[in-house]
């Protein structure tokens, strides 16, 4: 933890936007990828290097590679071509980025971030840029520019907040995705993204948890649920012919506090008698390919449909995860569909047909659960969450790349008695990122994460002081992994939990023994056993 406490300042920027010197200071960048991961994923220029090295060991013709890559992508993505052409630098996005607000670094203003590549676009791909160079806002593609790309496009969490405020909807997330692809072409990428991606590819999930360990971990959860409820709660693995394939981020079965969310899902599935299965082959809903390239994303995502087809399920249900849902909602069907071997999802409990997922055949767990609650299919005792005063962090991607906003709130308002919203400028489509998304949630980048998470923490601090909020609910695995650190630093005393953990706490289960603790083993607030 940075000590003394980080001082956040927003001062008048000095210097020129298109000047390209960047200093790699410990705590503000991610380590480069290991050659092994690049080889697994078939990516070029595998080598050992450090961003602080003077020589990045780029291929001799790296400039040509990057420019050819740009030319190709300008033709393949209208978004890229438009976003390179359209910006008028009106400044609306400037103070919308959490990294700018937390670092005060003017190049973290979304407009400045995209100017890093837009300037190169102008110089090599537009007439005025070719003729007038700097005067037309053009810039030579030098190694310093490339280094700057690496620094700042790995200081973007692809949260899309700037895009909401831009009059043209220019989406820095899209630009970041494409620039990271370009960097990829010359072997400039980060360890914390490529290792999980390689593990997902080879083994099936980010941590490379092998099938037997996957099974152990789920059995452990079953045992724990037995202790908690007295019920035999089975978690079927690779069961052919199940109605539903359930895919969650792997952190749910291997990290805390994610694990309590897993317990919540499993209690719910048991209680409603859902006919489901999970798979060790497709044991990762999260997709670090999104943080690397469209191709990697597609290759990793392909496993989900492949496994659904092999197991012969009817439809797919997805757990709580942020970027995972961006991929599932906006890319999966286009990349790996059509899923014509599946059926349009219908809740076996309520009979609700999920029209909104009729083509992709994949439903978000919050949509599924909200539907159950609406139809009164499960009994809840919200007082079991009385030790918590809860607020909700809208995870960026389900919000701004999908619009899943009210479903989790509908659930939260029924599973706990004390729920308080953060200020309007920091929730729903205005939500602030945790500061660690898009593959930046690593230890070596801690200072930048704490800075980027500051606006979110600031809003939590507000409700903590106003309403004694002590629990931050969210529906994203990266949130669950990194918000606890953020809270400890800026707002001590606030825990982080998944929505389905709170649901698990409140869920009244048939035949269960009286509940004395919540899923974390903490005594229930009232002290007396609950029915």
């Amino acid at each position: 933890m940075p000590d003394p406490k980080l001082q956040i300042e927003l001062k008048a920027p000095a210097g020129a936007m298109l000047d390209s010197k960047v200093e790699f200071r410990k705590g503000t960048y991610s380590n480069p990828a290991q050659p092994k991961s690049l080889k697994t994923l078939g990516l070029p220029n595998a080598r050992k290097w450090q961003p602080t090295d003077l020589d990045w060991q780029l291929p001799p013709d790296w400039q040509r590679i990057i420019l050819d890559g740009m030319r190709e992508r300008l033709k393949k993505y209208r978004s890229f071509q438009l976003f390179m052409d359209a910006c008028v630098r009106c400044g609306a996005c400037a103070d919308k980025c959490h990294f700018y607000l937390g670092s005060g670094d003017p190049k973290n203003m979304p407009v400045a971030r995209s100017e890093l590549v837009r300037s190169v676009y102008r110089r090599y791909f537009t007439l005025p840029g070719k003729l007038f160079g700097t005067l037309a806002g053009g810039r030579e593609l030098t190694e310093d520019v490339l280094k700057e790309w690496f620094y700042y496009f790995y200081q973007c969490t692809e949260c899309r907040r700037c895009s909401v405020y831009c009059p043209f909807g220019i989406d820095t997330a899209e630009i970041t995705m494409l620039v990271r692809e370009l960097l990829n072409l010359v072997g400039v990428n980060t360890h914390w993204i490529l290792e999980p991606a390689a593990n997902s590819f080879k083994v099936g999930n980010h941590l490379g948890i092998q099938p037997h360990a996957f099974k152990d971990s789920l059995e452990f959860a079953s045992d724990e649920l037995k202790d908690l409820t007295g019920l035999n709660i089975e978690i079927p693995i690779s069961r052919k012919g199940a109605e539903v394939l359930f895919v969650m981020p792997s952190a749910d079965f291997f990290a805390t506090p994610h694990y309590y969310t897993l317990l919540g899902y499993m209690m719910l599935f048991h209680e409603i008698g859902l006919d489901f299965t999970v798979s060790p082959y497709a044991s990762e809903g999260g997709n670090f390919g999104l943080f690397n390239s469209h191709d990697t994303m597609k290759g990793l995502n392909a496993k989900i449909y492949a496994e659904a087809r092999r197991l012969g399920v009817k439809w797919i249900l997805g757990g709580e995860c942020g970027h995972m849902w961006r991929v599932l909602h906006q890319y999966m069907d286009t990349m790996n569909g059509p899923a014509d071997f599946l059926a349009a999802p219908v809740s076996p409990i309520t009979g609700t047909r999920f029209e909104n997922a009729a083509s992709t055949k994949m439903v978000h767990i919050c949509e599924f659960t909200a539907d159950l609650l609406y139809h009164g299919k499960i009994e809840l005792d919200p007082s079991r969450n009385d030790r918590y005063a809860v607020t909700y962090h809208d995870s960026c991607n389900p919000t701004r790349a999908m619009g899943l906003i009210e479903e989790p709130r509908y659930i939260l308002n029924r599973v706990c008695n004390r729920f308080h919203e953060m200020p309007a400028q920091t929730i729903r489509e205005h939500t602030f990122c945790c500061g660690s998304g898009a593959g930046l949630g690593n230890e070596e980048n801690l200072e930048m994460r704490l800075r980027g998470g500051f606006p979110r923490a600031n809003a939590v601090r507000h409700v903590r002081e106003q309403h004694d909020v002590n629990l931050l609910a969210c529906i994203c695995a990266i949130d669950k992994a990194t918000l606890p650190t953020l809270m400890d630093y800026w707002v001590p005393g606030v825990q982080v939990a998944g929505v389905h953990e709170l649901l698990g706490n409140a869920l009244v289960m048939k035949g269960a023994k009286p509940r004395v603790t919540n899923l974390r083993g903490e005594p229930l607030a009232s002290g007396a056993p609950h029915a």
Binding site: P2, D3, I8, L10, A12, P13, A14, A16, L18, D19, F24, R25, T28, G42, L74, K76, Y77, R78, S79, D85, A86, V88, R89, D95, D105, P106, M109, E115, T126, L127, L135, A136, G137, V164, C166, F168, G169, D171, E174, Q210, P211, H212, P280, A306, Q330, D333, T334, G337, N356, A358, E367, R400, G403, L404, E406, P423, E447, R451, F454, N458
Partner: protein, 365 residues
């Protein structure tokens, strides 16, 4: 942790002298003034007058149209591989949840409304706020200056362009005359002061000054940002002066413009230098427009984050270049982990369990 304070940001170093932020504005001002001077001087001889009034307009129009076509072709040729709307409100999911129809459109028609609201009303800027940091607290205050300034400038410009049709059409259509009359409804002075003239000048001035005054705006402004505003300001100022200060013979102007429009250009007898300034600046704008950020109106219509319906799970979106990528398929995977799967009692689908022993297929990891 070496230092916790970053006066000018984390990774950002001071630039060398001479590339300062003021230079861009200075260059832009210089070029606009130079153009204006050229226009004024052109009135001095018949040859240069002919160049500005008879040749330049055609060249400018040609460049404008060719440039527009080129840019539109550039955008149209690139497909939209993925459905990536930025959603700014509740999706359509469960029928009983209230959804944000236009901020999260679920049909093409709703997306069209979203784009229209943006183009006509600058809706995103209406939600703009300013972040303030004081006493360790971050707060947000509404910030409508840009919305108001931008909206005033664009709408006033549109009306001004439409008003100018009275020079290019004979007889002047009734609606153009009414528009002009409405614009002068305040009845101040003679000829009456036009509301849009005042608005466009104030708005341009505001948009220019904020680039000077607000430090972060100064930082992110480029030559083209100043140049576009100054050019428009020059056009507006010379236009207003032609009406109110160095008043020009309207009939002569109409004759000149009609001649150009009818491909029968007539050399004006006694051209006003100011008129030539106005004309030269307008021609510069027409030439500059297709090659500059002034093409942003196209993006407002075509941006895939705004003009697409958020229905990618309901309706399949097709990527025309969807190419195969390397995958690790189930059979390969099961082969690699067969021993682990068998030992854990997990089902094997592709490999015969009896043929897997402890020394059998090894996990690659």
């Amino acid at each position: 942790m070496p230092s916790a304070r970053f006066p000018t940001g984390c990774g950002h170093r001071s630039p060398p002298l001479g590339t300062g932020e003021g230079m861009a504005a200075l260059y832009a001002t210089g070029i606009v003034l130079l153009l204006a001077a050229l226009g004024a001087l052109a009135a001095g001889s018949v040859a240069t007058t002919a160049l500005v009034t008879l040749v330049l307009p055609y060249l400018a129009w040609l460049t404008l149209i060719a440039g527009l076509c080129y840019r539109v072709w550039l955008w149209a040729r690139a497909p939209v591989p993925f459905r990536i709307p930025t959603t700014s409100g509740q999706q359509r999911s469960l029928p009983w949840l209230r959804r944000a129809q236009f901020d999260n459109p679920d049909s093409g028609a709703a997306a069209a409304v979203r784009v229209a609201l943006e183009v006509l009303l600058f809706r995103s800027l209406l939600h703009n706020s300013r972040a303030r940091l004081a006493g360790g607290w971050l707060s947000f205050v509404p910030n409508l200056g840009l919305w108001l300034g931008g909206l005033a400038m664009h709408w006033a410009l549109l009306i001004i362009v439409l008003r100018h049709l009275r020079f290019a059409l004979e007889p002047t259509p009734g609606w153009v005359a009414s528009l002009s009359a409405l614009d002068g409804i305040l009845q101040i002075g003679a000829p009456p002061l036009l509301i849009t003239d005042v608005l466009v000048l104030l708005a341009l001035l505001y948009l220019l000054l904020r680039r000077f005054w607000i430090p972060m705006m100064r930082y992110l402004s480029l030559f083209t940002d100043y140049f576009a505003l100054l050019l428009l300001l020059g056009i507006a100022l010379s236009g207003v002066a032609l009406r109110h200060v160095a008043r020009v013979d309207i009939v002569a102007v109409k004759q000149l413009v009609l001649g150009i429009v009818r491909f029968d250009p007539q050399l004006p007898a006694a051209p006003s230098p100011l008129l030539l300034v106005h004309l030269l600046l307008v021609c510069t704008l027409a030439v500059y427009l297709p090659f500059s950020k002034l093409m942003h109106f196209g993006a407002a219509l075509l941006s895939p984050t705004r003009n697409l319906a958020n229905n990618s799970r309901r309706v399949r979106h097709v990527n025309p270049w969807n190419a195969p990528v390397p995958t690790h398929d189930y059979a390969e995977w099961e082969h690699e982990f067969a021993d682990k799967l068998k030992a854990a009692g997990l089902p094997l689908d592709k490999v015969d369990p009896d043929k897997v022993d402890d020394a059998g297929p090894k996990a690659a990891n």
